[in-house]
């Protein structure tokens, strides 16, 4: 038995060569992968943000009870006591509308917000609870009290974020499946084209006793390269998109309740997952395409 030699250099150079000899098809394949990854990435980032917001809200265990405008200080003090007597309530703090406005303004520099009228803000009780499980129940108890005009339970927000996350996950799942299938199909066709162009060479290889693996590797590497190029391009585009959305959110009123995750803190996840997905799509696509050429 002869000593085996690793032909890595050969496989890679063949793979590269192949990509450039079918430029247009390779370009189409890369574009599909990019589209697939960006859609996947966008929904995943949306889900990640919803997740973050949720856990943040949960850790706060807090909701607001807005007080009837006509209430006097004494009435408010009495209400505060009443609320305090509810089992699950950990603490109650009164925040006047002026304080609320000041607190809000601290985080703002925009003219528009600074000049907001006082009426937008209302006197409120900031209520912390012990047990998050009984959160909804406690909110109901408090809002049933005389003098509580309205409440803003973050529970609603939490629910909203759960919905966003679930919808994003579901939509992403379906879209990813469809786009992955299309990407696979296009990569498979690109590689099939490459294999077809070299069918005589493949026949010669088989005749000389080449193993399936030896014949397959250059094409698999071609597929992996296409997938990787797609992943890197998608990563930078995703970065751009995310930075844009982040900027938009931060400069809008939404930033009072939503503080998005910064791209800088998760870029390696995005890149890693993109690269992995790209490689996987490339490998499967080319492996699938080359099967027919390996028979006998």
């Amino acid at each position: 038995m002869k000593r085996r030699r690793l032909n890595l250099g050969y496989f890679i150079s063949e793979g590269f060569h192949s990509i450039f000899s079918h430029g247009l098809m390779s370009f189409a394949a890369v574009c599909m992968i990019v589209a697939c990854l960006i859609i996947m990435g966008s929904f995943a980032l949306l889900a990640a943000n919803a997740d973050k917001m949720m856990s943040q809200l949960e850790s706060e265990n807090v909701f607001y009870a807005y007080i009837d405008e006509s209430y006097t200080d004494e009435q408010i003090a009495a209400l505060e006591k009443q609320v305090k007597s509810i089992d699950n309530v950990a603490s109650v703090d009164f925040v006047s509308r002026e304080e609320a406005k000041q607190e809000y303004l601290d985080g703002q520099t925009n003219e528009l917000y600074v000049n907001m009228p006082d009426e937008v803000f209302r006197d409120r009780l900031v209520i912390h609870v012990y047990d998050l499980e009984k959160f909804a129940q406690t909110v109901d108890q408090v809002s049933a009290l005389e003098g509580v005009a309205d409440h803003r339970a973050e529970q609603d927000l939490t629910d909203a974020f759960i919905t966003v996350r679930n919808v994003a996950t579901a939509v992403a799942g379906i879209l990813i499946a469809i786009l992955a299938a299309i990407s696979l199909f296009i990569i498979a066709n690109t590689v099939r084209l490459a294999a077809f162009a070299r069918r005589e060479e493949i026949a010669i290889m088989k005749m000389c006793g080449a193993s399936d693996g030896f014949i397959r590797w250059p094409f698999v590497i071609e597929g992996i390269l296409l997938g990787l190029v797609g992943a890197v391009v998608a990563f930078f585009i995703q970065w751009g998109i995310y930075a844009g959305v982040y900027e938009a959110v931060m400069s809008s009123s939404a930033s009072t309740i939503i503080i998005p995750v910064t791209f800088g803190s998760i870029w390696y996840w995005v890149l890693g997952i993109f690269a992995l997905a790209g490689i996987l799509i490339g490998m499967c696509g080319s492996g699938f395409a080359i099967r027919r050429f390996l028979r006998v």
Binding site: K2, R3, I204, K206, C208, G209, A210, S211, V296
Partner: protein
């Protein structure tokens, strides 16, 4: 070494190309396989290279039982064979050296082995000065000698040639056949398919004649029948 025992081959479209053939070729032998067009000669070659499989009977090649061979063993079996075709089947974009290197790379040879073996086989087929020429710049006879060099380069036990002189003039044909005879005399088993009567009769070799997928004669030092 070749053993065919009661071999039948029926193609998917129902064509019965081989009908109960028995044939034994020992190591080191030189045998011509002759017969009219469509008699099943190429089909036999395909059965020997595991490109097709017998629908009945047993096929043994160089110790491999092709009835039970595993898919992954087929490349190993093929490395014991050198195959030559009428249409040369060289890679036109590679030089002569490149073609031989390609064949050696497939079986995992090292650069050292290539640098030693390739000049040797090029010398054997008389193409030492053509190493850097591309097949498209060569005559048919030269191209076939490159194909022979490629068949030889991995040092096979047996060479199978399907009408190696089909595209060549009588003088080139004689040269090629003489070369094959010389290679055989160095120990490589040789099975040559041809229907060139003159050529076969010039060499006093074993001649296996088939017609309609059946063996009709098998004679040592024989002549082309029919």
């Amino acid at each position: 070494m070749i053993r065919l025992v009661d071999v039948c081959k029926e193609y998917n479209n129902g064509t019965k190309a081989i009908k109960g053939l028995n044939l034994k070729i020992e190591d080191g032998e030189f045998a011509f396989l002759v017969g009219p067009s469509g008699s099943g000669k190429s089909t036999i070659i395909k059965l020997l290279t595991a490109e097709e499989f017998a629908t009945q009977g047993r096929v043994m090649v160089n110790g491999y039982n092709l009835n039970t061979i595993k898919h992954w063993q087929i490349p190993k079996m093929r490395r014991t064979l050198g195959v030559i075709f009428q249409d040369f089947r060289l890679i036109d974009k590679k030089t002569v050296w490149g073609n031989l290197e390609f064949a050696m790379r497939i079986i995992g040879a090292t650069n050292r082995e290539m640098n030693k073996r390739i000049p040797y086989v090029l010398d054997l087929v008389g193409l030492s000065d053509k190493a850097n020429v591309r097949p498209t710049e060569m005559s048919g006879g030269e191209q076939q000698r490159v194909a022979i060099a490629r068949a030889l380069v991995n040092n096979p036990q047996m060479i199978i040639a399907d009408e190696p002189t089909g595209n060549l003039d009588p003088q080139r044909s004689l040269e090629i056949m003489t070369l094959l005879e010389r290679i055989n005399s160095m120990g490589t088993t040789m099975l040559v398919v041809t229907h060139e009567r003159e050529l076969v009769n010039r060499f006093s070799k074993r001649v296996v004649t088939i017609q309609n997928g059946e063996l009709i004669s098998d004679e040592q030092g024989g002549y082309y029948k029919l």
